[in-house]
Amino acid sequence: MTTTGLAGSAIGAGELLGLYERMAVIRRTEKAAHDLFLAGLVKGTTHLAAGHEAVAVGASAALRPDDYVFATYRGHHHAIARGATPEECLAELMSRATGVCKAKGGSMHLTKASAGMLGSYAIVGAHLPLAAGAAWSAKLRGSGQVAVAFFGDGATNIGAFHEALNIAAVWALPVLFVCENNLYMEYTPIGSVTAVANPAADRAPAYAIPAELIDGNDVVVVTEAVSRAAERARSGGGPTVIEARTYRHFGHSRTDPATYRPADEVAEWLRRDPLDIARGRLAEMGVAPEQVAEADERAARLVAEAVAAAKAAPAPDPREAFTDVWADGGSAWRT
């Protein structure tokens, strides 16, 4: 296992500014989702990824457009990082016909297949074998694609994690297992329910898979680590485990105030905000503060427009409840 710090990077200033803007869009979309939830416009539940932006944006920057990603119920950032628009995501959350899944999936199931974002899964760990399957498919077709599964620290204790990593290693599949370790499974510190300190990285040797433990709040670090792993995967080197340490800014879901987290821990991690870190790097690279401000403004405008458009969008046609079960578009189950 390699521990990667703030090493020097091959990512240029322009590219980094783009990544920053993408993160700013995600941050604002998550904030909007939070507000819309509190305003009663989002039903059910939401699991916001504010704080996790660097993982999604960094990984996406390192992938090909035709690569596949699989995310969890905390997956807004991955959908947007891969190219889903804030509008179609917020419309989904607000149960609009224009939602990215026609309001049938909801917050926990954002999917944008045309962008290789093959779904958000709400059963913890279930998608790890799916990502391995997409990687197997890529290998069978000789397409050179890789698949990435993003998952939480808590997901490392469920059986599907184990089965996916073993078979991925045995079959040398081009798949990346990227753990977003935000220190908590819901309200429980991950350390209190896990036998090892680094729940993903410390387990990789059990599958003879190389692992990297990285700073998940530094988009450059993430981009580089994922690039390395994707490169290895594409050249037949098999899977990699990447454990990215990060932190969520909101509670686990809905209105969870997250009082179970020590104040100093929260404060320390807020100081390590991925947007701040990227801003620091941009400044170091000599990018003018105005350029960053402009990116922030574009992001703010995009999200504000998305909120307005999503609000204005119509509810789904009730008949939509009975479409899309079968490939023929319908739901007939008997004669």
Binding site: G44, T45, G251, A321
Partner: protein
């Protein structure tokens, strides 16, 4: 899911029906198991933690395990207060390892404990189904009676809250398909307490479905020592023209429909099954003997739903009692959609119950 404690009072579009229904419901036919009229009202959610606390106090062999059930009090707050009262040696927080949760419960039950395991959402039965389908229910039989497995698996079940296809299913029918499990799904706070007492004290494994849509609903509490035997349906409302059989959240729905039917001059009898195993078909058949018409309201999809088993028994043993077809109001045969407007199209509602009841009466 954090703070899911704010779930809607009446699931599946039964707003307003719950209160009226509960009043009738609190006076079940079998007087023995009736909650004392003076018991102060509590929520269904509070009833769960109260029920567990009573059993934890009564029997030191009772021990709880599950995800976030300890300090956090459960994502639905159904174990609130237990950790404070009973401490970490009785209330165990687990990793996200549902197979381990049920496997540990089973191993402990085989060796002298009475574990109560929580599977947070009943949809997650799918990741530990082996324990519910192949291990727990078959152990006693396979060993020729050498080993009993006295445990309870509690779970939050059902839809109507916009949680999407993987967090909203009503899966009592999955459990019904497995001989060797007792299957309980209460509709009122008092029944939660009385049935939990029976479940924990049972030497057989019990799957206990707590309906998410009912957590915020209120009803009379239960006097000390309240025990409702497993396998006894309750007549939640007496009537003569049509029998409406419900379970869990479809009981308040049926009661709300019965109210509206009463305004139309129709007397509907609502039977709350309370358990699927043991299945109190005697009560259902007795009711049909009176009404000659049977409507079954179930939240699971029609295909493979528990109503099929009830209907087939009546179509066999009660064939001569029937003056009309047997009808089932069940969920449509699709996954559950997220948007509430779509979800309402799919799961049973008071309107759908009414429509079906009227059609039966017009037959």
């Amino acid at each position: 899911m954090a703070d899911m404690s704010g779930g809607a009072a009446g699931a599946g579009g039964a707003p307003g029906g719950t209160a009226a229904g509960s009043a009738a419901h609190a006076a079940p036919a079998a007087g023995a198991e009736q909650a004392a009229p003076a018991a102060p009202a509590i929520t269904y959610r509070e009833a769960v933690s109260e029920a567990l606390a009573r059993e934890l106090r009564r029997d030191p062999a009772v021990v709880c395990l599950g995800e976030d059930i300890g300090r956090a009090g459960g994502v639905f707050k159904t174990t609130a207060g237990l950790f404070d009262e009973f401490g970490p040696s009785r209330i165990w927080d687990t990793p996200i390892s549902e197979q381990a949760i049920l496997g540990l419960a089973m191993g402990a039950a085989m060796t002298g404990m009475r574990p109560v395991a929580e599977i947070m959402f009943s949809d997650f039965f799918a990741v530990c189904w082996d324990y519910l389908a192949n291990e727990i229910p078959k152990m006693r039989y396979m060993t020729g009676g050498q080993v009993t497995v006295p445990l309870v698996v509690r779970t939050a079940n059902g839809g109507g809250l916009g949680f999407g296809a993987q967090h909203s299913q009503a899966v009592e029918n999955w459990a019904l398909a497995i001989p060797g499990l007792k299957v309980v799904a209460p509709s009122t706070p008092a029944d939660v307490i009385g049935l939990m007492a029976s479940a924990v004290r049972s030497d057989d494994p019990v799957v206990f479905f707590e309906h998410k849509g009912l957590f915020a609903s209120k009803g009379p509490g239960a006097p000390p020592g309240h025990v409702v035997p497993l396998g006894q349906a309750s007549v939640a409302r007496a009537g003569t023209d049509v029998t409406v059989v419900g379970l869990a959240a479809t009981v308040p729905m049926a009661l709300a429909a019965a109210d509206r039917l009463a305004a139309e001059g129709v007397s509907a009898e609502v039977v709350d099954l309370r358990c699927l195993i043991p299945l109190d078909m005697a009560s259902v058949l007795e009711s049909v003997r009176k009404t000659s018409r049977l409507l079954i309201v179930e939240e699971n999809p029609y295909q493979g739903g528990w109503g099929g088993t009830v209907a087939s028994i009546v179509a066999d043993e009660g064939f001569e009692l029937l003056d009309a077809p047997i009808r089932r109001v069940a969920a449509a045969c699709v996954p559950l959609p997220f948007a509430d407007a779509l979800e309402d199209e799919v799961i049973p509602t008071v309107e759908k119950v009414l429509t079906a009841a009227r059609a039966l009466l017009a037959y």
